[in-house]
Amino acid sequence: MTAVILDGIVLGLQFGLLGVGLTVVYGIGGVLNLAYGQLAVVAAIVMSITMRSGLATGPAVLAGISAAVAIALLLNFTILKPVYKRDDEDRVLLSLLLTIGVAFIIDGFLVWRYPIEALSLNIDWDPVSILGVRMRAGSLLASAITLLAGGALIFFFRTTTTGKAARSVIQDEVGARLCGVNPAAVRTLIFALSGVLAGLFATTQAMTSPVPISAGFDFTITALLVTVVGGLGSIRGAFLAGLILGVVNAMSSFYIGSYVTTIILLAAAALTIVVRPSGLFGAKA
């Protein structure tokens, strides 16, 4: 039982990180990026390929994250340009439909060129005992990286001027512009950040289980569920929802079978929507 919950927490932290990457882009850009999971997969595949060709793990991880950032920025500067000319729900809808297209292009390319590629990062340190449970070093390292990233995110959004400017755009874009904040610049930064988070997620996932090329939509849907449960645009909410869904996920796959986890997660999300339409933490950061 403790072991299952601990596993759930390890997973949940990563879900949270993934959710934050999606939710900040939604909050700031008004863009629901359905190719977000594919960013993580691209990062993983770049890591896998570069490592196979002899690159050390560290540089390979950097290369993978850079690839995810590059694609995120490319989207921001190309096909999402027309999206930014629209407002509100029109904007979200168009972005959603266009990024489904992007997801297909990426998936199609990967299936075509690298059909059997997958990333595993084996951390062969000794297991560590926590609360009487032997935890694999990979899980612990993954959690440590995620917590560190989460802490860095909170520091960035709470204390730095740029981070505050980013939150101001989420809360009131007109107000932010009147304060001299350039939403387009903030958006670019946040897209790059979402790429970093997708890359980090790929890294930590690969420490606990392999990341295959087909994982893109699963990642996206997990991130969407985290976002819906936590509240669109909420960073705190994403982490909390990630933890909850991670534990639910670990428990349902342990006690019933992994195939029902999506159904239980869906039910959890549907329940949240019916009970609290704006999620655990409303629509703001």
């Binding site: 407002d87 509100d88 029109d90 168009l94 439909l97 297209g101 929507i273």
Partner: protein, 343 residues
């Protein structure tokens, strides 16, 4: 975001929503449907000798019926159901399993199965409208359902055969397994769906759809129960998808999860619908015909199919954003504007 920069009045331009069918033009609409039906009826003369090509043509009609149902849900009432494949799959698996396991005659199980899809479709709409969720939430919930359904199929091996799928016995001793007749059965289904679509839009429900798309808030103010009509559309569309899926299961004699995934059904259906024209009567059929034909011509490049679908989706939505977005008739900006203006 910047909704309050725009005045409330200027956004609903004087474009009639494309789903609208006036009584004067409805005769022409029926003539067009008849012409399309006639043209499609001639297809077997051309390719009827090839079992493979007939199979492709039947799949084309299957997608046409998906696209018509999707058009009713998404085109007429702005509900982004990303569970077209899953709802059809619910119909297919339910009908196949009940008829084969319990020995219930398959025409009856097809009706039962589409009833279940109808219920699920209506339930999505109910959840969405109950909390006045935006189109985005409907999309997220239905997309998750697609994935959940897929996982359920893979997990419940005993019932569904898991990844390998199941052979459907019911229907195997009927004309549905011949080379050409099932094509006409599907063609009749498509024509029924089209006529149903037109009749529905001519009825008072159609007037409500029009009002709802043109200006949701105004529709509500004039006493139209927007929620109810959304649920109607979700349920009817869901039932149509379930029935088409069930029919296909008995015609094909074999179903597997791959047949109903988001990737293989929803995205092609979306591409077909957008290409043909959201909210138009024959658009879904035209889109299905064009892309089925293209898919066959380019069959040797099938590994690039995913990429092609992705590019098409982007190009279609970027090249006709006005058409697409107008057709959606979203007026949410106004709601936000009036909310923000309130101190």
């Amino acid at each position: 975001m910047t909704a309050d920069e725009r005045p409330v009045s200027e956004q609903s331009a004087n474009h009639p929503p494309p789903g609208t069918i006036s009584r004067e033009s409805s005769r022409r609409t029926f003539l067009a449907i008849a012409a399309a039906g006639l043209a499609l009826a001639l297809v077997p003369i051309w390719i009827g000798g090839s079992r493979t090509l007939m199979g492709v043509a039947i799949t084309g009609l299957l997608f046409a019926s998906y696209a018509i149902a999707f058009n009713l849900i998404f085109g007429s009432t702005n509900q982004l159901f990303l569970a077209v494949g899953a709802l059809a799959g619910v119909g297919a698996y339910t009908s196949a399993i009940i008829s084969d396991r319990l020995g219930v005659p398959f025409p009856l199980t097809m009706v039962l199965a589409s009833g279940l899809s109808m219920f699920i479709g209506g339930a999505f709409s109910w959840i969405a409208v109950r909390r006045s969720l935006g189109i985005i939430f409907t999309g997220i919930i239905t997309l998750t359902f697609s994935l959940a359904f897929d996982n359920l199929l893979l997990g419940q091996r005993g019932l569904t055969g898991g990844e390998t799928g199941i052979v459907v016995d019911a229907g195997s001793d009927t004309f549905l397994r011949n080379q050409i007749p099932p094509y006409y059965v599907f063609l009749i289904l498509v024509l029924i769906y089209l006529i149903g679509y037109v009749l529905l839009h001519r009825s008072h429900i159609g007037w409500a759809f029009r009002a709802l798309r043109d200006d949701e808030i105004a529709a509500e103010l004039t006493g139209i129960n927007v929620a109810r009509y959304r649920i109607y559309a979700g349920a009817i569309g869901g039932g149509m998808l379930g029935f088409a899926g069930a029919l296909w299961a008995h015609v094909e004699g074999f179903i597997s999860p791959a047949t109903f995934t988001f990737v293989h059904v929803d995205v092609p259906a979306l591409v077909m619908l957008v290409f043909g024209g959201i909210g138009t009567v024959l658009g879904p059929v035209v889109g299905a015909a064009v892309f089925t034909y293209l898919g066959e011509v380019l069959a040797s490049y099938s590994q690039l199919r995913l990429i092609a679908d992705g590019i098409l989706l982007i190009v279609l939505f970027l090249a006709f954003p006005q058409g697409v977005i107008r057709a959606l008739g979203l007026r949410l900006n106004q709601l936000r504007a009036s909310r923000k203006a309130a101190p």
